[in-house]
């Protein structure tokens, strides 16, 4: 009887861990490799919404994909910017770095100008300036 209980428990644990592997492909607190804390991010659109901030004149150039990884102890980010309009767009962008306590982990970056061709994608990538940067925001503004 005791063995039956133990076998049932072992089976349940194995099943549970099996499900966890399938469902929880991501590390907890991460979506597509990017830190999300306790936010509920179910899709790439949710992640983009959570990480992108518009400041000043709004631009129609938007990230369609964002992925993060680690380079040593530094956060590495790839963001694919898409211009689906029929004209060349000029924007500027910067990253804002946030530490584990939600405070600024680095001083405000300089705005970097960017030209995105019509109906095109452009990959923007960066590495966190310090290992204190646990999270980030991609800040965009139009230069038109």
């Amino acid at each position: 009887m005791r063995y039956a209980w133990i076998s049932a428990a072992v089976l349940a644990t194995a099943l549970g861990s099996g499900c966890a592997t399938k469902k929880g492909f991501e590390v907890p607190g991460q979506a597509f490799g990017c830190p999300i804390g306790d936010q509920k991010i179910g899709s790439m659109e949710d992640l983009v919404k959570a990480k992108v901030v518009m400041e000043g004149s709004r631009t129609t150039v938007l990230p369609t994909e964002m992925r993060c990884s680690r380079s040593g102890d530094l956060l590495r980010i790839d963001a694919n910017l898409n211009n689906d309009s029929k004209s060349v767009k000029r924007i500027s962008y910067k990253f804002r770095w946030i530490d584990r306590e939600g405070m600024r982990a680095w001083e405000e970056e300089a705005w970097k100008p960017l030209m995105v061709y019509d109906n095109s994608n452009l990959m923007v990538n960066t590495v966190a300036p310090t290992n204190k940067a646990a999270d980030f925001r991609l800040v965009l503004r139009s230069m038109e």
Partner: protein, 195 residues
Amino acid sequence: MKRSIRFYGLLPLAAAALLAAGCAKDVTRYGDSKSVETVTNEFGSTDLQTIAESMARSMQTAPVIVSGNLPILTVQEVRNRTSEYIDTRAITDSIRSELQKGGKVRFAVDQSGLKQQTGEIDRQQSGYYAREQSVERGQMVGAQYRMEGNITSIVKQVKDTKDVYYKFNLQLWNIRNGLLEWSDEKEIRKTTTRG
């Protein structure tokens, strides 16, 4: 008589010019030092900031920096091979500041600061200072890697268009064995059209 009429006729014009000059006041405002600057297409603050940030971030991921235990670097010259005056020291200073703040490297005194460094050691060894608190000669730490680079430009101009292309190249050399451990480039293109 004729001359005095002409003189008095010019008076209102002169007064108007004086008034206009008086009204056109200069206005000074503080701006955002991090904003995109496009006053002319010569090398500007945005170029300096973009290059420094890009180079420092890239260097931080170099295997020698990642695997090294706070490697010691020294800054050498960035040669200006453009046709305009560029303070390349300002670029290397910004790169050094960003790297130093990142906490992954240390910097040894470079050639430009060596005179001040040795001068201070000599001063402390001059006999005027308490011997136990004075720094001794022969305690300075040499760098393991040296950082040097080039900035080049290609300028093309036709009637109403001027195109400037900058290429900044930075290298990290191993001083002991002369190997190139890391290198990266940043390109910038600016075009000015009249009208």
